[in-house]
């Protein structure tokens, strides 16, 4: 490949040798938070709700960045398109893939799937906690711990009817299923990153971490 020596890494058409810091921060923040909430902590605990709110903020920031960020981070650089995604996967199987200026079409679809599922998880989580902020949850827990059960009664007051109870149950189900879907997507995602990296013969993870400190090759 005869890439011009001086412009190899800035040339149009090559994916970034280093993702910008907002993409990296939101990526690893979301990844760590999802693992924490889906695997490590107890659903509904103060930590769980706090991490959940952090996920909301990370998601909001990434979506804002998808409109206002630099070219390769913008949604317009990786539109969701199932047709090109399938074509990309076929090329991947054949062992020869194109280079894209941002995420490849399959990776793009994966990113949108993540974001949509995260929105479902946080929305259902908000419903389950009645929209209480982590500060309010902490206050309630402190009140209950000190023997004041009125916080619990106030919370339970809204769901006295059978209908409310079954709705709550459904939302709980949605929350858990979506959380498991996130884990499934993550497994596919990591497999995809590994396979794509093999075929392209370059690390995709490095640009997502600290990037090529010595660029050029």
């Amino acid at each position: 490949m005869a890439t011009p020596r001086t412009l190899a890494s800035t040339a149009v058409g090559a994916s970034p040798s280093l993702w910008d810091p907002v993409v990296r921060l939101t990526h690893w923040g979301i990844a760590a938070s999802v693992l924490t909430n889906a695997v490590l902590d107890e659903g509904g605990s103060l930590l769980h709700v706090s991490v959940g709110w952090i996920v909301m903020a990370l998601l909001v920031l990434r979506l804002v960045w998808g409109v206002l960020g630099p070219a390769e981070a913008r949604f317009s650089a990786f539109p969701p398109n199932p047709v090109t995604a399938v074509r990309h996967l076929r090329q991947l199987v054949a062992g020869r893939v194109r280079h894209y200026p941002s995420h490849n079409p399959a990776g793009a679809l994966m990113a949108y799937a993540f974001w949509a599922t995260l929105a479902v998880v946080t929305a259902s989580g908000l419903y389950l906690t009645g929209g209480a902020t982590p500060m309010q949850v902490a206050e309630e827990k402190a009140a209950v711990a000190s023997g004041d059960w009125s916080a619990l009664i106030a919370e339970g007051g809204g769901e006295s009817s059978e209908e409310d109870k079954s709705l709550r149950h459904t939302v709980e189900e949605v929350h858990e299923v979506a959380a498991n879907l996130l884990l499934l997507l993550a497994a596919l995602h990591i497999a995809g990153v590994i396979v794509e990296g093999r075929v392209l013969r370059r690390s995709l993870v490095r640009p997502m971490l600290l990037g090529d400190v010595r660029r050029g090759k």
């Binding site: 011009p4 412009l7 920031l61 804002v64 660029r215």
Partner: protein
């Protein structure tokens, strides 16, 4: 030879700091808005509401402006990076072309390049494993072929050329390489 780590690290630190700030801003905004919505549901007629709405608007605008500023900084840094690379490529193209025009021998080209890089006679001699007298003689021949009086004028020749002609565009300098 193609790197400028100082500029790049400084730029990276700056954008990383701005990004962390933007993230904290977003966290604060999301928590504040959640709190406001909670307050509203508890006490919809609250006189606080107008105040809270104004603060919310300010926080949201802060995120948007912060994101804009960060994008501008990232793009500026990239443009600088690229301009530097182009300038570097352009300067070495200019030097090569000029050396050819002066009909320098391969040995003279090497010595001339080292001299341009600021090495003195002793250093050049050591690098090339030659006697200092040889290097001095080669330099004299280079200066005479170039029609300059000495090392200072020799270096100035290229700087002036670069400044006078302006930096060629990216396409112009990549035609050769691609």
């Amino acid at each position: 030879m193609s790197e400028s780590p100082d500029i790049r690290t400084a730029g990276r630190r700056q954008t990383a700091a701005l990004s962390i700030f933007l993230l904290i801003q977003t966290l604060g905004t999301v928590f504040f808005v959640g709190d406001v919505i909670g307050d509203l549901r508890e006490d919809p007629g609250s006189a606080h509401f107008i105040f809270e709405a104004v603060v919310t608007a300010a926080l949201v605008l802060g995120i948007i402006f912060g994101a804009f500023a960060l994008r501008r900084t990232i793009e500026l840094l990239r443009a600088q990076d690229q301009a530097l690379a182009v300038a570097r490529g352009a300067l070495s193209d200019v030097i090569e072309g000029q050396f050819t025009a002066w009909a320098l021998t391969p040995a003279e080209r090497d010595v001339g390049l080292l001299a341009l890089k600021g090495l003195d006679v002793a250093e050049i001699a050591e690098l090339r494993g030659a006697a200092q007298g040889t290097v001095r003689a080669q330099l004299t021949r280079i200066y005479s072929k170039a029609g300059v009086s000495g090392r200072a004028q020799f270096a100035a020749f290229f700087v002036e050329d670069l400044l006078g002609a302006g930096v060629p565009s990216a396409e112009a300098s990549t035609v050769k390489a691609g």
